[in-house]
């Protein structure tokens, strides 16, 4: 009996699993939950381990020499590991994640995940002035990729699951689930309308819940209640936007320039270069310990209003230099956290000045530090929406939205003007990887059927006989011709179809009959496109229907013909001038004919 029961149970389980695998929506739901939970737990472990390691490397009351020795040794050890064992675990992880999605079909190796976890824990704990969010995103994305591959999912599904893992990782690493969703869509996918939105939200929420279950409800930053003292303060926030934008550009340019220099050095010594970053940050840390590590404790103090103007300005300069040096020299760690640090210090400095110039008419430096975090993030990472939501999630206060948006948009605009390429794309380009840029995506979206539409020829009457229809078409370049009846546009009749009918002795058959034989009686089934659909979609439709001419019809009335779009027109819209314009032959026909 037990064996029968167990057999029955197993077979039932197998059938359930089979059913789950067939129903992709359910599989997506299950995987989002599982990835969210696992990535959340691993990122929490990453945060806790890094913290514990740091506590042991820098015991309370430890000697100053530790601040030089520990980051130097940390960078040396991780430099060797990165060069010899985990070459893909270097740097932030966000450009690598994007490259995995757009270039490598979502493929990230387990070795990279393990290397990122190990090297970043050691590196960040030793005081390297980089952040943990980027590596966490790489770890989360990598885990999602590994899980998807191990489950035998297809390439496309693996690609879709990578941002799901990224979102879960960021939600746990930064404690902002909504911003994590937006970051995954805005930065990682580069598309806020990506069809994986539901999965990304689910994994982010699951991961955030795991974080709170394990670590409690303590926020990452302790922010006092925000308030806008007077509307004139918005002017100061605009100044903060300018300062933040310029600071962001300075940071990005310095980092890219330093990285280019390090990349010009001999490759065989790559294991040693991170040590330069470690030594550099160690020497700075000897005098100014606040520069070491991610520095969120310092950010927390500044957010609480504990700002000394001279120190805030000093920390901005030193952190920009230290982070650029650490990253450029090839250490493991990201720039997400340092961006926030730089922004908080910039904001704190601007706030301290505002407090002196307009005493009683401006909020404290803490409020400006908070807005500054978002400003620098918008300027450096170039995700303005994510930065607004991220700070809003941190404060949970609506009143911060307007100053934040003003400041962010100004910083974003300045950064766009002075540094054309966003940092992650520029970093990938330095590595020889050309990621799809936002401009490219915009350009692609801008090319619609309307940009290739041409006036439709006068339609054939549906009652017209085949032979007369063929005479009407004559030697036109189009291989299909519109047909209309009393109600309007009816469909496109192929020249080949008319020729066949005449050749087979059906010359008197009306065009409508031939059209029904071709497309059925339902006119809605007629292949067509709309003016606002992307050209990529038009091409896909041409491929599916094996036609080189498609009618463009109104969305409000499919019987209203607006024009036609041909393959040569599409190519011309893309800037490709074909020789066979007007050949009248479809691409499919051309392929068939050899």
């Amino acid at each position: 009996m037990p064996s029968i029961t167990s057999t029955f149970g197993l077979s039932r389980l197998f059938s359930l699993v089979e059913d789950l695998r067939r129903r992709e929506d359910r599989l997506a739901l299950a995987l989002s939950l599982v990835i969210g939970a696992l990535v959340g737990l691993i990122v929490v472990a990453f945060i806790l381990l890094t913290g514990r390691l740091a506590a042991h490397m820098y015991p309370a009351g430890g000697a100053a020499w530790r601040r030089v020795l520990v980051p130097t040794l940390g960078a040396l050890v991780t430099g060797i590991l990165l060069a010899r064992a985990f070459p893909d675990a270097r740097g932030s992880g966000i450009p690598q994640t994007r490259a995995a999605i757009f270039i490598h079909d979502g493929w990230i190796s387990m070795r990279t995940v393990a290397g990122k976890f190990l090297c970043c824990s050691a590196s960040l704990a030793s005081g390297i002035a980089l952040g943990r969010e980027g590596p966490a995103v790489h770890i989360g994305s990598g885990l999602a990729s590994v899980i998807a591959r191990r489950l035998g999912l297809g390439t496309v599904q693996v690609r879709w699951l990578v941002p799901v893992g990224a979102s879960a990782a960021l939600a746990a690493a930064f404690n902002t689930p909504i911003a994590a969703v937006l970051f995954s869509l805005e930065e990682i996918m580069g598309d806020l309308h990506a069809p994986i939105l539901g999965s990304v939200v689910l994994s982010s929420t699951t991961s955030w819940m795991v974080l709170h279950l394990v670590l409690g409800d303590e926020p990452l930053f302790h922010v006092p209640a925000y308030r806008l003292v007077s509307p004139s303060e918005l002017g100061v926030y605009a100044v903060l936007g300018i300062v933040g934008g310029l600071g962001s550009v300075a940071f990005v340019k310095l980092l890219l320039r330093m990285r280019r220099w390090f990349m010009s050095l001999p490759r065989r010594m790559a294991w040693l270069y991170p040590t330069a970053g470690g030594l550099g940050v160690g020497l700075i840390g000897w005098f100014v310990p606040q520069v070491l590590g991610v520095g969120y404790d310092q950010v927390d103090r500044v957010l609480g209003g504990d700002v000394v103007l001279s120190m805030a300005i000093t920390l901005v300069g030193l952190k920009i230099f230290a982070t650029a040096l650490c990253y450029a020299s090839g250490n493991a760690g990201g720039i997400f956290g340092p961006s926030l640090f730089i922004g908080a210090m910039l904001g704190g400095a601007v706030g301290a000045v505002a407090e002196r110039v307009f005493p009683g008419a401006s909020a404290g430096p803490g409020a400006y530090a908070l807005v500054g975090m978002g400003t620098a993030f918008a300027g450096i990472v170039r995700t303005p929406l994510t930065s607004v939501i991220m700070i809003f999630e941190t404060t949970r206060d609506y009143t911060i939205i307007v100053p934040l948006m003003i400041s962010n948009m100004i910083a974003f605009w300045i950064s766009q003007r002075l540094q054309h390429e966003p940092i992650y794309e520029a970093l990938a380009r330095q590595d020889g990887i050309h990621l799809p840029t936002g401009a490219f995506r915009e350009q692609t979206r801008a090319l619609t059927a309307s940009s290739a539409i041409r006036e439709a020829p006068k339609p054939l009457a549906s009652a017209l006989e085949a032979r007369h229809a063929l005479e009407r078409i004559g030697d036109s370049a189009l291989d299909a011709w519109p047909v209309s009846d009393d109600a309007g546009f009816r469909g496109m009749i192929l020249r080949r179809r008319l020729e066949d009918a005449v050749a087979r002795g059906r010359a008197e058959v009306p065009v409508s009959t031939l059209l029904e034989e071709e497309e059925g009686v339902d006119e809605r089934a007629t292949a067509h496109v709309h003016g606002d659909q992307p050209l990529a979609h038009v091409l896909a439709r041409m491929g599916e229907t094996h036609r080189s001419v498609l009618p463009v019809v109104s969305r409000a009335d499919v019987r209203l013909l607006l024009g036609v779009v041909t393959l040569p027109d599409v190519l011309a819209a893309y800037g490709v001038e074909g020789d066979d314009e007007g050949s009248g032959r479809s691409a499919a026909e051309a392929r068939r004919d050899g």
């Binding site: 699993v17 737990l41 899980i147 069809p195 539901g198 394990v214 209003g305």
Partner: protein, 392 residues
């Protein structure tokens, strides 16, 4: 949740058992990492608490050694390690108070009180901060919250400390009614130490209830007849009620018992001055009474002139006329009898003394709150005590 995955996705390549095994492996990893994280979080929390406790202790030592800035850094660090501990935040507030950074201290303490609004220590420290900021009313409110707040240990002693701090504030701000209201619960002999009761008794004098002070000091003397401090207090209280001779005697006894004349020297000097000035002493004959009344009037006029020099009134004019040199007595030229003359002169002196006292009281009262006497000025205080006695 309808997920729009691409329809062109290839079929999964893993077999069902492989799929199941991988899923099982993932669930096992979730369980394993869950357990690992919980353990790690526990270790982290424990070490953070220990670290915070060490920093708190170091901070306390720094604060006790008079290094409030170093202490505030340590307390801030302790607070960062264990945010939920109100004790650390309150200690930070204390350190900032000691460092003179009142707005910062207030901000920190208000944050702590947002977490635990009834915390006695946080309320007490905030009250002290507000007192330093000159916001006496707000400070009094927080002292009350401290008195009736929650204390982890030694609640009666800490509440008494808060009440005494409030009492001191009220005494300094001259809120006599409120001070008296706070002192009355402390008058019970079972509350506090002897030194505290002595302090309370002294404060009764400040609160304008010297009789209660005398009763408390007498009770102390019944318990210990050689209590020099109690005699000193008694002397002070006697001064307040106008028993200058008793006050002098008590103060002298205090000096004898304590073997220290310096502590009571000022009060003794005040008592002597008051005794020399007081026109109401029974043993005085009318001319002496008149002479003292004239001195009192002259001193009151002088004091009034210092307060409102540009605004002479009818009363001050009358007083000046009264103090002007008197013409030779007409009764002497009329050749009336010696006995009659003496009786008449005595009666006149008595009447004049009464008039001068009445006039002095009127001028003294008319000064209102514009003038204050300096407690350190012996003559001024003696005059104030005499005038208070005359008003009674």
């Amino acid at each position: 949740m309808a997920e729009a995955w691409p329809r062109t996705a290839p079929r999964p390549t893993a077999t069902t058992p492989e799929f199941l095994a991988t899923f099982g492996l993932i669930l096992a990893a979730i369980l394993a990492f869950g357990a690992f994280d919980v353990w790690l979080a526990h270790v982290d929390e424990r070490e953070s608490r220990q670290h915070a406790a060490h920093q708190y202790e170091d901070g306390r030592a720094q604060l006790a050694a008079g290094h409030p800035r170093a202490a505030s850094d340590l307390f801030a660090s302790a607070m960062a390690s264990e945010r939920t501990n109100v004790q650390y935040g309150t200690a930070l507030g204390e350190a900032l108070l000691a460092a003179g950074e009142y707005p910062e201290a207030e901000s920190v303490l208000r944050t702590q009180l947002a977490r635990a609004e009834s915390d006695g220590q946080a309320n007490l420290v905030l009250a002290r901060v507000l007192e330093r900021e000159g916001r006496a009313d707000d400070a009094a409110s927080y002292y009350h919250r401290a008195i009736y707040g929650r204390w982890e240990e030694g609640a009666p002693a800490r509440r008494l400390e808060a009440r005494m701090a409030l009492v001191d504030l009220l005494a300094r701000s001259g809120a006599r009614q409120e001070l008296l209201a706070e002192l009355l619960p402390l008058a019970d002999s079972t509350i506090g130490t002897r030194a505290l009761r002595r302090r309370v008794a002294h404060l009764f004098v400040v609160a304008g209830a010297p009789d209660r002070a005398i009763a408390m000091f007498r009770e102390m003397l019944r318990a210990d007849a050689k209590d020099g401090d109690a005699y000193a207090g008694l002397g002070e209280a006697a001064l307040e009620v106008g028993n200058f001779e008793t006050a002098r005697a008590d103060l002298l006894e205090s000096a004898r018992l304590l073997g220290d004349t310096a502590r009571t020297a000022v009060s003794l000097a005040v008592a002597d001055s008051a005794l020399a000035l007081d026109p109401t002493l029974r043993r005085l004959d009318p001319p002496e009474r008149r002479a003292r009344a004239a001195r009192v009037l002259a001193l009151v006029l002088d004091a009034a002139a210092r307060c409102t020099p540009a605004a002479p009134s009818a009363a001050t004019d009358s007083a000046r006329a009264m103090l002007a040199p008197v013409a030779p007595d007409s009764s002497l030229r009329a050749g009336t009898g010696r006995g009659d003359r003496t009786a008449s002169r005595l009666a006149t002196a008595r009447e004049e003394a009464e008039s001068m006292i009445a006039l002095a009281s009127a001028i003294w009262d008319s000064r209102g709150g514009r003038c204050t006497t300096s407690p350190s000025a012996v003559g001024e205080r003696a005059l104030a005590l005499v005038m208070a006695k005359l008003a009674d």
